[in-house]
Point group: C2
Chain length 158, copies 2
Amino acid sequence: MPTDDLQHLRRAIALSQEGMEREDGGPFGAVIVKAGRVVAEGNNRVVVDADPTAHAEVVAIRRACAELGDFSLAGAVLYASCEPCPMCLAAAYWSRVDRVVFAGGRQDAAAIGFDDAFFYEQLPLPIEQRSLPMTQQLRDEAVVPMRAWQAKQDKTLY
Amino acid sequence: MPTDDLQHLRRAIALSQEGMEREDGGPFGAVIVKAGRVVAEGNNRVVVDADPTAHAEVVAIRRACAELGDFSLAGAVLYASCEPCPMCLAAAYWSRVDRVVFAGGRQDAAAIGFDDAFFYEQLPLPIEQRSLPMTQQLRDEAVVPMRAWQAKQDKTLY
């Protein structure tokens, strides 16, 4: 483990405390580091921004990409005060960070009333077994633009 | 199935086509409807916004919450031109929408080069088996602000 990992992770934990004290949202913080430089910091802002997607990791990923002008964070590391929820973990995958270092676990989040662990249980279920009702319709119509995109020559892949 | 479902789902598909043609990002669209009113629309903006979290559903959820001034979309329906990826599905859970209606499937997205299906396979794995390296450290330090949040009397739950 790189020696700076604990320093950045402690900063993520400090951000979790600061955000909670400001009443921005839940007690969660995140830091993104690339080539030894802190590119972005974030904390949970769900309440203050009225945005359920404003988890610390998503906030930090969005800020880091804005800072770098790139939708890819390849070469970067995400530090999170708590294990990323499924939304944030999938965001980390989409962002192409090299690795994730986290401190608290999903059960620690569950113990203080957050649904991270429950959502981890929900996502792998067949859709008919999920608590969130889902239905599929019009698949034939939806694949038309998808195939047009596939045939497009000048598209940007992400 | 409510009779307006197909109308809103077709609008989400149209948004997927329009966004692709504008080169905003991938061919994906979403619509959020509450009490019969279209509250927000979105399409994938990963490329144009340089934001890997700007999937159609996340864009629509963020816009809907901004429109309503509320981090909860309870009572609303999310229409998506394609099955939400794990990030977007977890965002839908966090947003508390009542239900999700989608058209294309994760395999349709995989067929045109997107990682949705792969990420669905990754998330349930034990962390040591994932393609994205993850490590846990400093759990004891992280739980201190989490417990402080739990003890806080005037907090806003989400």
